[in-house]
């Protein structure tokens, strides 16, 4: 692990080493968990859903209920239709969800199960719903699975009744509950009437009250997903993850959209706030938000000497990486390597555009990359800081580089899923993590005589 990575970089064609992504279905599960009283359902064999529940439990330190068709050899040969029918019946009977969100796996996709037609033969109890999304594991990444499941909900449920609801739909993208709470707080302060979809807050950060609720209070209501079709417009965060659901809603219900980056960093948060203010019609940015922004800027100036011009490598999901990249540029740091495991020319273009604004020339940007390659680059020319998921931990240890954990998954730390990195407050937290990791490093590494109590 630590010594294996050779310095010499060679193009690999067939082999993926230490991935910076995982497969679609886990995205579908996480999206479905953001709908109230929804049971995610994996149409495939048992292992997949067991892995997805495990990784979600590890990241959020929360139970993540989800079921599977429990494919056997028979189902793989003769088709999984009867498994799906039995499974759905059992789920409604025993776990009593209001809605089941079915996603496919590589197995059910390849044997060619036509979920839509199987669903038509299933008798759904009154007032209950079934939706589905195709999420072949061999296409794209978990990011695709997330937006495909959003599209599944929209395609099945959203409708335009001709009666506008006056609300704005917020598509927040793949965020932690702490981020979603922050987005809603900002929207509330700006007086925006909205429907957030999906919304895992209240679900994946449910309180411990001594009882286990399979369906905690949070999540977008089914009625709200239906009502998305009557929204004035969509304010979508993260172009890479939210574009497809925007198109789906536009196709089906003619709802227009505005896509902006994840509100990570000053400018990105400014844009979110300005859009929200514009859409709510309150005219001016609320004073309390001006103050939060001012506090962030104040902190940035106070601390800038400790991180200015440090070189940083950022990896993870495309929208998160682009947001973090913007912020570190605003801090005066230099992104040296920026990678995502997900495919996407748009990622490369957007990263190039942001770098150009700051005149950064020698930053390597790559989509569909893996962490082994990043490690090789770092071995050839190191960086001062890593920002990304837990999976960068091996590189951090091997090269003795501090790591700030951001994105999905963070498996080896606590509390992170409650704490935002979006909005001005989220930026302050990210700034705290970045600054203190350098100061901690200095205190740990310096000579005794150089240890300073006061900075």
């Amino acid at each position: 692990m630590l010594d294996l990575t050779p310095n010499e970089c060679v193009e690999r064609e067939a082999l993926r080493i230490n991935p910076c992504k995982t497969c679609q279905p886990v995205g579908a599960v996480y999206a479905a968990l953001g709908v109230h009283r929804c049971m995610p359902y994996s149409h495939g064999s048992q292992g997949c859903i067991s892995y997805h529940r495990t990784v979600l439990s590890r990241h959020f330190k929360e139970p993540a209920p989800a079921v599977s068709s429990s494919f056997t050899e028979g189902a793989s040969v003769f088709g999984g239709g009867s498994n799906l029918k039995t499974g759905v019946k059992n789920v409604f009977e025993i776990y009593k969800p209001d809605i089941i969100a079915i996603h496919t796996t590589c197995l059910s996709e390849t044997i060619g199960d036509d979920i839509r037609s199987i669903i038509q033969d299933i008798e759904v109890p009154d007032g209950k719903y079934l939706v589905h999304a195709n999420t072949p594991s061999y296409v794209g990444s978990h990011v695709y699975g997330y937006y495909n499941m959003m599209c599944g909900f929209i395609n099945y449920l959203s409708e335009s009744t001709g009666v506008p609801n006056g609300k704005v739909a917020i598509f927040p993208g793949w965020m932690n509950p702490g981020d979603l709470v922050e987005i809603k707080r900002l929207a509330d302060i700006c007086g925006l009437k909205y429907i957030m979809f999906p919304d895992q807050s209240g679900v994946m950060d449910a309180p411990l009250l001594g009882t286990y609720e399979m369906y905690p209070e949070g999540g977008t209501r089914i009625s709200e997903i239906k009502d998305l079709g009557n929204c004035r417009c969509v304010l979508a965060l993260g172009e890479m993850i939210s574009a497809e659901p925007c198109f789906a809603l536009e196709r089906k219900c003619k709802v227009p959209h505005k896509m902006i980056p994840y509100p990570i960093g000053v400018e990105n948060t400014d844009e979110f706030v300005m859009q929200t203010v514009k859409l709510s019609g309150i005219g001016n940015v609320p004073v309390c938000l001006e103050n939060e922004r001012g506090q962030l800027i104040d902190m940035m100036i106070d601390s800038h000497q400790h991180y200015s011009q440090k070189k940083v490598a950022i990896y993870g999901d495309p929208d998160t990486v682009l947001g973090v990249m913007s912020f570190v540029l605003e801090l005066g740091m230099t992104p040296k390597y920026v990678i995502t495991g997900t495919f996407g020319e748009r990622f490369d273009h957007e990263a190039a555009r942001i770098l150009e604004v700051y005149g950064v020339k020698d930053c390597k940007v790559k989509s569909n990359a893996d962490l082994f390659e990043l490690h090789q680059w770092i071995k050839n020319e190191s960086v001062d800081l890593l920002i990304g998921t837990t999976y960068g931990k091996q590189i951090a240890k091997a090269e003795n580089i501090p790591l700030v954990r951001v994105g999905f998954p963070v498996l080896d730390r606590y509390v992170h899923s409650y704490m935002p990195i979006v909005g001005y407050r989220g930026c302050i937290r990210l700034l705290e993590m970045i600054t203190n990791v350098f100061l901690d490093e200095r205190d740990r590494e310096c000579e005794d005589k150089d240890l300073e109590i006061v900075l």
Binding site: N18, T54, E62, S68, G87, G210
Partner: protein, 449 residues
Amino acid sequence: MNTEPGTILDERKAFIRYGQESGIKCEADSVSGAVSQRACVYCGARVVLNPITDAFHIVHGPIGCASYTWDIRGSLTSGSDEYRNSYSTDMTEKDVIFGGEKKLSAAIDEVVEKHSPSLIFVYATCIVGVIGDDIGSVCRAAEARHPNVRIIPVQSPGFSGTKSHGYKLACEALMDLIRPHYDQAKVKGINFLGDYNLAGEAWIVRGYLESIGIPIITTFTGDSCHKNLIRAPSAQMNIVQCAGSMTYLAKCMENEFGIPYMKISFFGVEDTSASLLRISQAVGTEENICAAKELIAREEARVNPILKEYKKRLQGKKAAVYVGGGFKAISLIRQFNALGMKTAMVGTQTGTQEDYEIIRQIADSDTVILDDANPAELETFMKEKDVDILVGGVKERPLAYKLGVAFCDHNHERRHALAGYEGVLNFVKEIDASINSPIWNYVGGCDRS
């Protein structure tokens, strides 16, 4: 059965028994639509083979199968740490349509060219089972191209059975690895099967055995390497810790190499002492037996007074157990008994009829016993039995906490050793820290009067 209506599916009732009832259903497929805690065939194969420290594991399939099993166990190494990387062919749509054999060949070549491995395992995942890539012939051809490298296929499509079937496939892969080296002179020593060196557990046991004069030839597979594994046929005897995963390998080695095997357990004082004595009696001299007795006496004298103190804090508490294999459940019931605790619920993912019979005998008459349970059932019985602690794995932890129940991690990701006398101390410390944490006083709201 005294359960809330609607919580337990009719199809699930045969999988659940109270202590005095026999004839539990197990080793069967999970019910469609149930929230099963089980994993798949590939997972079973991977967790058994992964700890081999210098092996390269190439997962032929979409990226998920590789990324979810990347560095999945807390298996420590004293040599190479190669096994902690993740290799995959990351199959895409094109590979699924046109077949992935060429990509797999190229991936093997890339590994061989860049990393000079001596041992590669290639796993077939669900998709490979469906599209019919012949990983066996790809591996044979690759071995012909790279004569110094062992390249072993593991036919483990996820849907082709249960996780236990994956264990069996892993054992077959291990037999493929060691079979060509069958013709070796016997030396003094044993193989240690079914230990994955989680948090250094194999080292603890190795230390005991070495101190009583019985060497370990090789471990399967915790902290093992290619060079040591192929010395396995020279052993006098095999000892099997994780019966679920490795009894099959022990039987294969018995049949093919004439190596007898013995099931042992290093969980709990009682099991650890009994196992050390039995091993020394089976393969040792009088001198070894004496040394074993001395070690047992010394360690028990050290550990028992500490346990006695913990017993005061734990006596009368009720435990629930939900673990992977039967052998672990059995050891845990014994350990709880020794601490004066009751095991009110016990379940496994892959227990056998034989395991459940032993569980039935050592558990209380009203203990709930269940196979392949789901969270709804765990919740039902944990509430019904009003348990104080759940012993389980990563998916059960948040469930227990939500119910206001303490938790002990006894799964393969844990970072603390639970084997041997040291492990017993770690175990009671963890049980005590969780059950007796002041945090539980605050569960249930501010108005608790």
